[in-house]
């Protein structure tokens, strides 16, 4: 079968790169092969559908109409599928999106450790850092898909009930205000908002991932990540702490909303995105260091 004194299987640089992509693909197969991965997508479909139907058949559009008429904008031009899909994404991105991102992030390592497959994997010559690297990448890919699905589902579910047209983006935070965009500009902003929303999803997934690298149950990793997130949000919303907003993770997670401002504050957005990159790097380094030092036992 093989010679008794065969040399070690050390792949060349090219083969190692090829293997990395195979390993990444396999992580995706593992992730998307599980039913629980799709809970988030299913919940989005249900929640978005419910809210859109309420907009269509309830009185929820009254406020929007008042705002539009008060600003002198024609209702029929701006009470559109794009506007409704944007209004729907705001509460879901605040509550549901972090929940499912943290759930998947918290599962990535801890679930394998709990089920025992991690021991099988680490009997192989792959380094722990590389293993975490492909797992994080798979988690990031899922996060991007989840964020984009929010936009695609929202638009697809709103289109049968509302006409296609301009975008009227109403701010839900204190301070209020709104922005108005033409159809082309609105569609571009809507797409860009969901791409930027992926930075929030990836970061929350990364937070769950850090705790997943510790010796704990997957549920504990998810709950810890959500606790940090909600504690941040609570502290950030205390009026007396408003001057410290820049110190809170949740403040930077909301960067995606800046693309829906009439005048995009690019420097503020750049600063927040840079900080999110820093947060993600820090999370990964903490997770990788912890995981590297751990004993993996049955």
């Amino acid at each position: 079968m093989i010679p008794r004194t065969a040399p070690p299987l050390t792949p060349s640089r090219w083969a190692s790169g090829h293997l990395f992509w195979s390993q990444f693909r396999n992580e995706l197969i593992k992730l998307f092969g599980k039913r629980r991965t799709y809970i988030g997508f299913g919940a989005f479909l249900l929640a978005q559908n419910a809210v859109i139907l309420l907009f269509r058949f309830g009185h929820a559009t009254r406020g929007l109409k008042r705002q539009l008429e008060g600003g002198g904008y024609p209702v029929e031009q701006y009470l559109t599928s794009l506007t409704i899909a944007t209004q729907v994404v705001l509460p879901i991105a605040f509550l549901l999106l972090p929940l499912y991102a943290a759930l998947v992030g918290g599962d990535l390592v801890a679930k394998e450790a709990e089920e025992g497959t991690l021991r099988m994997v680490l009997a192989r010559p792959i380094s722990r850092v590389r293993l975490l690297g492909v797992k994080w990448l798979a988690g990031a890919f899922f996060s991007v898909c989840l964020s984009l699905s929010l936009g695609v589902f929202g638009l697809a579910l709103a289109l049968p009930w509302f006409p296609f047209g301009g975008l009227f983006a109403l701010r839900l935070e204190s301070g209020g205000g709104f922005s108005v965009f033409s159809t082309g500009d609105g569609l571009w902003r809507f797409a860009a908002a969901h791409l930027l929303l992926a930075t929030k999803t990836v970061t929350v997934m990364g937070l769950g991932f850090v705790f997943s690298c510790f010796n704990m149950k997957p549920a504990a990793a998810t709950i810890l990540a959500l606790t940090i997130l909600f504690a941040n949000a609570v502290l950030m919303n205390i009026p007396w702490f408003s001057e410290y907003q820049g110190w809170f993770l949740t403040h930077h997670l909301d960067t995606w909303k800046l693309i829906l401002e009439q005048q995009v504050p690019w420097s503020e957005m750049g600063e927040s995105l840079s900080l999110l990159v820093g947060y993600n790097l820090t999370f990964f380094v903490i997770g990788a260091t912890t995981f590297q030092l751990r004993d993996i036992k049955s």
């Binding site: 079968m1 070690p8 293997l19 390993q23 396999n26 593992k30 192989r124 010559p125 993996i296």
Partner: protein, 303 residues
């Protein structure tokens, strides 16, 4: 093939493995024996780079597991106590995933290994539909991919029924004979180990009690079965002559170290005893193991 040198592991002040030095020769079936908690799994964990040694070194094929893990493990396959897989995926997909953590492998090689373990017909079914025996065979298939030289089996017989144990024993022999693999087998099923291993090491509470060829563990040259016309009188004469130090039931006598059976036979014949049988006894691995463990655990005799 495997070299452990002064390997030590502590978990929060509790010593799990203490100064373990061991050599597993290439091409042998090596049994790592010990009770639950003796340190077998911790030793295997350190050997696979899953558990960090507090001190000492472990190497496979000349490569230090801590410093050159990828080279050390590139030709190692491992199977653990309870085979666990991504049960929502097919057997084939599981093999692909696990093998890719070592190297790319051709479809032909995967098919060959699946045929070897007898799973070729069910490779595309989800693992959750497999029986325990099929999962055990899939575990073996993943361990044989891509091209191992060393197979580490951590308590593989746990949870198997007698038929499964028989099948496992047959498979290990085949792996050794047909594929020429070196096999490290950890177990506390002594009769199984006695039937298949050529070398054994015995651990007790993290300490090595014995390490060597199985034949030297089983040989008990000092105990001899003696059948004469008058056993008590023969024993008394042999003790007087300084040839025998002890006797036991079932016509057993313990020779004084350095005395061989030929000397005893000559003595008995010269002194007029009718000698019917004089056979050196082989102990079982269980007797040897229990003797070792009990000798260590016996409290010191008070003066």
């Amino acid at each position: 093939m495997i070299e452990l040198s002064q390997l030590r592991k502590e978990f929060r002040g509790r010593t799990a493995v203490e100064s373990l030095s061991l050599t597993v020769p290439r091409g042998c079936i090596f049994g790592l024996l010990g009770h639950n908690g003796a340190g077998k799994s911790t030793t295997i964990g350190m050997l696979l780079g899953q558990v960090w040694a507090t001190s000492g070194t472990a190497s496979i094929g000349g490569y230090d597991v801590t410093r050159h893990r990828s080279q050390a493990l590139s030709r190692v396959g491992a199977i653990f106590e309870a085979p666990v897989f991504y049960d929502y995926l097919s057997g084939w997909r599981n093999l692909e995933i696990l093998t890719n953590y070592t190297a790319s492998v051709s479809r032909a090689r995967m098919t060959e290994v699946l045929a070897w373990v007898g799973l070729e017909g069910r490779a595309r079914s989800a693992v959750r539909t497999y029986s325990h025996g099929m999962k055990a065979r899939l575990a073996l298939a993943q361990a044989l991919l891509p091209h191992p030289e060393l197979l580490i089996l951590d308590e593989p017989a746990n949870g198997l029924d007698p038929e499964g144990i028989h099948e496992l024993r047959r498979t290990i022999r085949r792996l050794h004979a047909e594929l020429g693999l070196t096999i490290l087998l950890s177990s506390h099923q002594l009769s199984e180990v006695q039937q298949i291993c050529s070398h054994v090491a015995i651990l007790d509470r993290g300490r090595k009690m014995f390490d060597g060829p199985l034949s030297s563990a089983l040989a008990a040259p000092e105990w001899v079965r003696l059948v004469t016309d008058d056993f008590p009188r023969a024993v008394a004469r042999l003790v007087e002559a300084g040839l025998v130090r002890d006797s036991a039931a079932e016509h057993r006598i313990a020779l004084v170290p350095g005395v061989d059976t030929a000397s005893v036979a000559r003595f008995l014949v010269n002194h007029g005893f009718a000698l019917h049988e004089l056979t050196p006894l082989q102990s079982t691995l269980e007797e040897f193991y229990l003797g070792l463990i009990q000798s260590r655990r016996q409290p010191p005799v008070s003066q």
